[in-house]
């Protein structure tokens, strides 16, 4: 059951569900993420203004909740939004948050011997 939920969160999304990174209203960077893994990778490389723009609007939290359906990560991202971090501090913290969750989701369950 848990594995099923994890693979749902980790699935690759169609174009219409993909996250598109903008730096401001109507200004698309050309970067997108069609899965949590891609999202984690883009957080490292995308223009930091884009991270600030989407985080302040609650776009990441919304996409993680409604599309990836990962309430746990959405809550962590919401907490980050409240921290008012900017620039590279925001990038680093967001990367730590997303990559920690990603590692949890891809880790194989340990069964007792």
């Amino acid at each position: 059951m848990k594995e099923e939920m994890n693979s749902r969160i980790l699935r690759t999304l169609p174009r219409e569900k993909t996250f598109y990174f903008f730096t401001s209203i109507g200004n698309y960077t050309g970067e997108s993420a069609a899965s949590l893994k891609e999202f984690m990778e883009r957080v490292k490389t995308v223009n930091v203004k884009s991270l600030e723009f989407h985080l302040s609007r609650g776009d990441f939290e919304k996409w993680i909740t409604e599309v990836l359906e990962d309430k746990k990560l959405a809550l962590d991202v919401w907490r980050l939004q409240k921290s008012n971090l900017l620039g590279d501090s925001l990038r680093n913290q967001l990367y730590i948050t997303v990559s920690r969750r990603y590692k949890e989701l891809v880790a194989k369950p340990i069964f007792p011997a």
Partner: protein
């Protein structure tokens, strides 16, 4: 009105009639004829021919939307796309109600330039994020929201 090198050739009377209609498309055949010194039936015949040949494409009404309380925002959107996909991108965008005008243009890169409208900045963003960015071949989008209009007209015959 004659056909010359696949283009319709209009005489000075046709051009005068078109100028009159561009100024006021509700002006009567009689009024136009009186001013030009020709019978109203001649004006009628010439207008009919120009309609049939699609020289006159339509008669429209320009509405001052602000006066009726519509406060839509307008923006100029530049879409950078893969040259192989650019025509398809433009065709898909042309079918959307939010797109008022759309062109392809070649500057340093091949671009799609569109005039778009939305009820608010948020709606504009939603439209671009959900309907433009996901189109195959789109690589970047730049959007400028129009803050003040100084002139808007169609090509006027001189």
């Amino acid at each position: 009105m004659k056909l010359k090198n696949n283009a319709l050739s209009l005489d000075s009377t046709d051009m005068e009639i078109l100028r009159a209609l561009q100024k006021d498309s509700r002006e009567t055949y009689g009024a136009i004829g009186k001013r030009l010194g020709i019978a109203h039936s001649t004006v009628y015949d010439r207008i009919r021919k120009m309609e049939q040949q699609k020289v006159i494409k339509n008669y429209t009404t320009t509405v001052d939307v602000e006066k009726i309380g519509i406060r839509n925002i307008t923006a100029i959107m530049t879409v950078y796309a893969d040259p192989k996909e650019i025509e398809k991108v433009a065709e898909k965008l042309a079918a959307l109600a939010e797109v008022l005008e759309i062109y392809t243009s070649l500057s340093e890169e091949l671009l799609v330039i569109a005039k778009v409208t939305a009820a608010s900045q948020e709606d504009l963003h939603e439209f671009i994020a959900n309907s433009v960015a996901p189109l195959p071949g789109v690589s970047r989008i730049r959007t400028s929201i129009i803050t003040k209009k100084f002139k808007e007209t169609r090509f006027q015959l001189r």
